[in-house]
């Protein structure tokens, strides 16, 4: 385990140097990005070797004389660590050129400092094995990511985002703490160890508290309200880390608590599947309605968290119904999707960062035709989009396919489990379809067609480290898709580490399926390449003329003729009106020669819409009513003293 701590130390040293060298912008950036990358690389190597060799290590530090901070790395931790260190490694590399444009050197230094704290605390959260260590790292993670979100605090939107995020993470942490406190109340020590001898109702309560707490970090509907604000506000490499891996710490927490609790009711599975279905469908619907590229990606994270939850839920249903094959399929699919989502969501955020960097805008409808001048970015984003839509032969498909299969196994079960499986399958199908629509919108409107503004016209791609990171991630999407038989070992090790007794009966079918998938993918890929070769063979020597996209024979085509993002999405959004109300602003056209008009639409998130009405307003009202206590009159203040005494005297 010492290698793990050395890597953490290197990362934190990087952060420390970034503060020390804050005034020397460039050298500070070089040193920090280098140290962060080295630290992450070391951690990645350590975690993957631990995962592959199924090594379990533990380490405990004395804390405040009486207590200890314990850390433990088992298969589950190692699996999540691989994702964390892998994505953070690439983000640090990416950040080197991404941050180059920033004018204020101190701000870069501070940003890197909190970035390093974020990486370290995420890794510590995942390895923490007692309450103190967990809460300490968890809060450090929240605090550091808050500072990253308000990086650009001049914009009032970002301040609002930061505030929402701050409040949600604190409330979430309090729920987690309540869950831990219930555990402590029963075990009497700080360890997060197995707790089989607890009453069942208590276990369920703990599960629900931790579900709410971790769910608010993971962005589960309806606790996701902060997410679409906070993720776009941060610099893009931070968004990549937050969306790609930070929200997964919430998933990790849920699974960890689940395994410790040793629950035997179908309830956790049901909660997970229903929450997953709702988050998944609504997440992608809201994503479809966004005009801001990074917000769209953020909502898409809510959707993918939904898919992961469905996978885990199927796994839990499999466990509670004694169906190991279903359990392994669900868990493996869920874990694999954790990894996959980390890969393609960071890729997409990095792509969005490049677009933002070059064009200065995040508005989808102000872009267009970027593929022509941003070949590498464009191709990488297209690969990422295909992957996130769950299309073969890319990685997104593999994870979702396993979850589907798990769901199909559940069809053989009784009543409630059966219904849950049906819900899971149908919502997965709906999510998949909508995700495809959503990402064709991104690719079609942003990267294809013609540029809609001058900024989009002039965009090129710059920054070697940014491109390298994206290429690596895109390659990962393809490779995992092509050879799932190899990569599937990682989530299987994590499933084995859950200690639910699923080996080996459940594992064999998954291996077989993965092998088959691998074969099919390779064949598919070969066919695609073959077709491409045939096509180029037939087009050889034939003249190919290039003209404006969507030219369609017009003599004077204008970019305004293109589908906009809003118009593309509107036919789907109409159907979801009840859960995704649309507010439109469109002044009527008047007069014979109408002056300039505009159309604005905004899709409303029902959780955000009702949060004020159902939660915030009542709280404010109650406390508003209490404010008369402090009315300024000293006579009644003295009366309070007397009242307190008189009331207390009754209790003697």
């Amino acid at each position: 385990m010492s290698q793990f701590f050395i890597s953490i130390l290197i990362i934190l040293t990087g952060g420390f140097f970034s503060i020390c060298f804050a005034r020397q912008a460039k050298s500070g950036r070089i040193i920090t990005a280098f140290l962060l990358s080295i630290g992450c690389l070391l951690g990645l190597i350590n975690a993957s070797s631990a995962l592959i060799h199924s090594v379990t290590a533990a380490r405990s530090f004395e804390y405040l004389t009486l207590f200890s901070l314990s850390f433990k790395m088992d298969g589950l931790s190692a699996f999540f660590l691989v994702a964390v260190f892998g994505i953070c490694l690439l983000s640090s590399v990416y950040s080197f050129h991404y941050m180059a444009h920033e004018k204020k050197p101190v701000r870069i230094g501070v940003n890197y400092f909190f970035f390093s704290v974020l990486i370290a605390s995420m890794a510590l959260v995942i390895t923490a094995s007692n309450i103190l260590a967990f809460m300490l790292s968890w809060e450090a993670m929240s605090l550091s990511s808050f500072f990253l979100v308000i990086y650009n605090h001049e914009a009032s939107d970002n301040r609002k985002a930061g505030y929402l995020y701050f409040v949600f993470s604190h409330v979430g942490a309090m729920f987690i703490l309540a869950a831990f406190a219930l555990i402590y109340a029963h075990t009497g020590n700080f360890a997060l160890g197995p707790m089989t001898r607890m009453p069942e109702t208590m276990k369920i309560l703990i599960f629900l508290f931790s579900f709410i707490g971790f769910g608010s970090k993971a962005g589960v509907f309806p606790f996701h309200v902060w997410l679409p604000f906070a993720h776009p506000a941060a610099p893009s490499h931070i968004s990549a880390v937050m969306s790609g891996v930070m929200i997964k710490t919430g998933i990790y927490g849920m699974i960890r608590i689940y395994t410790l609790l040793d629950l035997h009711t179908p309830l956790p599975g049901m909660v997970m599947i229903i929450a997953g279905a709702v988050s998944g469908i609504l997440g992608v619907v809201y994503a479809l309605g966004q005009h801001d590229l990074k917000r769209l990606l953020a909502y898409s994270s809510v959707e993918n968290i939904g898919i992961i939850l469905i996978g885990m839920g199927i796994g839990m249903t499999g466990v509670s119904s004694g169906n190991p094959a279903m359990a392994v399929l669900g868990f493996t699919g869920g874990f694999l999707h954790v990894l996959n989502h980390a890969v393609f969501k960071s890729l997409l955020f990095m792509g969005a960062g490049m677009v933002l960097h070059q064009t200065g805008t995040r508005s989808i409808d102000a872009l267009g035709g970027l593929l022509k001048r941003m070949k590498i970015t464009g191709t990488a984003v297209i690969i990422g989009s295909l992957a996130i839509s769950g299309l073969p032969p890319l990685n997104g498909f593999v994870g979702e396919f396993l979850i589907y299969l798990g769901g199909f196994k559940g069809l053989a079960l009784e009543t409630s489990d059966f219904i849950m499986s049906i819900v899971a399958i149908i919502s997965l199908a709906v999510i998949g379809g909508l995700a495809l629509a959503c990402f064709t919108k991104v690719v079609g409107v942003v990267f294809q067609g013609e540029p809609r503004t001058r900024a989009a016209e002039k965009a090129t791609e710059k920054g070697a480290t940014m491109l390298v990171s994206m290429v690596v991630l895109a390659a990962a999407c393809v490779l995992i898709g092509l050879f799932p038989g190899v990569i599937i070992l990682l989530p299987l090790r994590a499933v084995a580490a859950l200690g639910l007794g699923l080996e080996p009966t459940g594992f064999q079918p998954v291996m077989t399926i993965a092998g088959n998938l691998s074969f099919a993918a390779v064949v598919f890929f070969a066919v695609v390449i073959l077709v491409a070769l045939i096509r180029s063979f037939f087009y050889r020597n034939k003249p190919i003329a290039a003209s404006g996209t969507w030219g369609c024979g017009f003599t004077q085509p204008t970019v305004k003729m293109q589908y906009t993002g809003s118009s593309y999405a509107s036919f789907i959004l109409d159907f979801f009106r009840p859960v995704a109300p649309l507010s439109e602003e469109h002044p009527a056209i008047q007069g014979r020669f109408p002056v300039k008009t505009h159309y604005k639409s905004h899709i409303n998130d029902i959780a955000g819409l009702h949060m004020n009405k159902l939660v915030v307003d009542p709280i404010l009202l109650v406390f508003e009513k209490l404010r008369w206590i402090q009315h300024g009159d000293i006579h009644l203040y003295i009366g309070y003293i007397l009242l307190a005494i008189v009331l207390l005297l009754f209790f003697i």
């Binding site: 308000i150 409330v171 703490l177 406190a181 003293i641 005297l649």
Partner: protein, 473 residues
């Protein structure tokens, strides 16, 4: 020997009334330093007092004393810079009463006799009242009036409570010195009825001074009207002194086997204070009042933790120490903000991060600390208190506790973000000299260091202080 700890600042305080400005400032810092040295000496040697019937060194007293000494030293350094920025009409009165205030508070920490303790607490009220009236405005006059009258009435209740405890000794035919430690030793023989009555009066009495709701009413007025260094002392140490009285009486209750009775009352008062703080923090217009309400919240947390017992008491003591460190730094930063913007209202501030970056660092770090984020110690304290509340099966109270902490955090964060980041057109009239920011940094760094590792001697003293009320694990 022990008596020197309050006699030294007493003499210095009286001297300060007759000294010119520049000498007075040096006297302030010098006495602060000397006092710190004396406290460390007391800490290491734990000598016997000359009047050992009235004064003695107790672990909980030592903890408070060290906090007072340390805070006063830093605050005096800040005060020197503060006084250079802001001219006062009668500066020697201010310095004089600051020193007298220090003297009375030190006396509180070393008093073990019930009545002497009461005398010392009442003396803190009297010595600190002129500090609130430093600016001679009608609002500060009102605050002083309320402070003196409400606290005097409250503390009179504590006197009655102390008398009732002696009555319970009479009825139980106990013959012992009238000191907290001696009574704790014979607590089993006291008459429970009158002991409970005494506890109630003492709780309400010292609770008034400590800022427990609903007797907290003087606190926001006094804290917001007093000048920065004085508010820092009020919040940082004066409230702890009053808490000391409740803590010691609670010890007697535990020794008498009435721990459940006192515990539940403390918890209820703690919760009420937290709720009261939540009520007024949500829509607060003035940042100093907001910090004052946050002090009420923290006193509530401490009382709640003390009521829980076990690990909760440990959490409460940790909270007390770190609250002193962090809140006084916040009040000093608020003093800078007031000097810089010249306005008490939150809506007239903003953009602290660009306009006063050094103060921003201290202010925001203090905010994070007081809200219970690591690496500051309140995090540990609150964590233990919540764990303890669940462990003690007080599920409903723990639920209210957690939810109100969330509400307070939401309100507090909202205001702090406005102050720190909002756009502002204000022109700043203050240069952030080292003396105006370093005391805060040192306070915060101390809290940070104590959160990472506690020196053995401090740890042992905490354990000694709480072992009598079931502060085990």
């Amino acid at each position: 020997m022990v008596e020197l700890i309050f006699l030294t600042p007493l003499v210095a305080g009286i001297l300060a009334f007759f000294l010119p400005k520049s000498l007075g400032r040096w006297l302030l810092v010098g006495t602060g330093a000397l006092h710190l040295i004396l406290s460390l000496f007391l800490w290491n040697n734990r000598p016997e007092a000359v009047f050992n019937r009235y004064f003695s060194v107790t672990p909980e007293g030592l903890l408070s004393l060290l906090v007072i000494s340390f805070l006063f030293f830093l605050i005096s350094i800040y005060a020197v810079s503060y006084l250079k920025e802001r001219e006062l009409q009668a500066e020697n009165v201010f310095t004089g009463f600051m020193l007298l205030f220090l003297s009375t508070m030190s006396m509180v920490t070393v008093s073990d006799h019930i009545m002497v303790f009461w005398i010392a607490i009442e003396a803190t009220t009297l010595a600190s009242a002129p500090l609130i009236y430093t600016h001679r405005s009608s609002a500060s006059l009102e605050a002083t009036w309320k402070y003196v009258l409400i606290c005097s009435v409250g503390i009179a209740m504590a006197l009655l409570g102390s008398v009732l405890i002696t009555l319970s000794m009479d009825i139980g035919n106990v013959n012992a010195v009238l000191s907290f430690s001696a009574i704790t030793g014979v607590a089993g023989k006291l008459d429970p009825f009158w002991l409970k009555a005494g506890f109630i009066f003492i709780l309400v009495g010292y609770g008034t001074k400590m800022g427990l709701a609903p007797m907290h009413t003087w606190l926001p007025d006094a804290h917001s009207e007093a000048p920065g260094p004085a508010s820092a002392l009020f919040s940082g140490v004066l409230l702890n002194c009053a808490y000391l009285g409740i803590f010691k009486t609670n010890k007697i209750m535990h020794a008498a086997g009435l721990g459940d009775f006192s515990g539940i009352i403390l918890m209820v008062f703690g919760l009420m204070s937290i709720l009261a703080a939540a009520t007024f923090i949500i829509r607060q217009n003035e940042y100093k009042r907001m910090l004052a309400y946050s002090s009420i919240e923290n006193m509530g947390i401490i009382a709640f933790g003390t009521g829980i017992g076990g690990i909760g008491v440990y959490g409460a003591v940790i909270c007390m120490i770190h609250h002193s460190l962090i809140k006084s730094s916040l009040f000093l930063s608020a003093g800078n903000i007031l000097l810089g913007y010249g306005n008490r209202l939150i809506k007239n501030t903003g953009g602290l991060i660009t306009l006063m970056p050094k103060t921003f660092l201290a202010f925001f770090a203090g905010f994070a600390g007081i809200s219970g984020f690591p690496p500051f110690g309140i995090f540990i304290g609150e964590l233990f208190i919540i764990l303890g509340a669940f462990r003690g099966k007080h599920y409903a109270m723990a639920g209210i506790f957690i939810l109100s902490l969330c509400v307070i955090f939401a309100g507090f964060a909202n205001q702090v973000m406005k102050i720190s980041f909002d756009h502002s057109k204000a022109t700043i009239r203050l240069k952030e000299k080292p003396g105006l920011v370093w005391p805060q940094y040192v306070l915060l760094l101390t809290s940070l260091a104590l959160c990472i590792s506690i020196p053995d001697t401090v740890h042992q003293t905490i354990i000694d202080a709480i072992s009598a009320i079931g502060g085990g694990f």
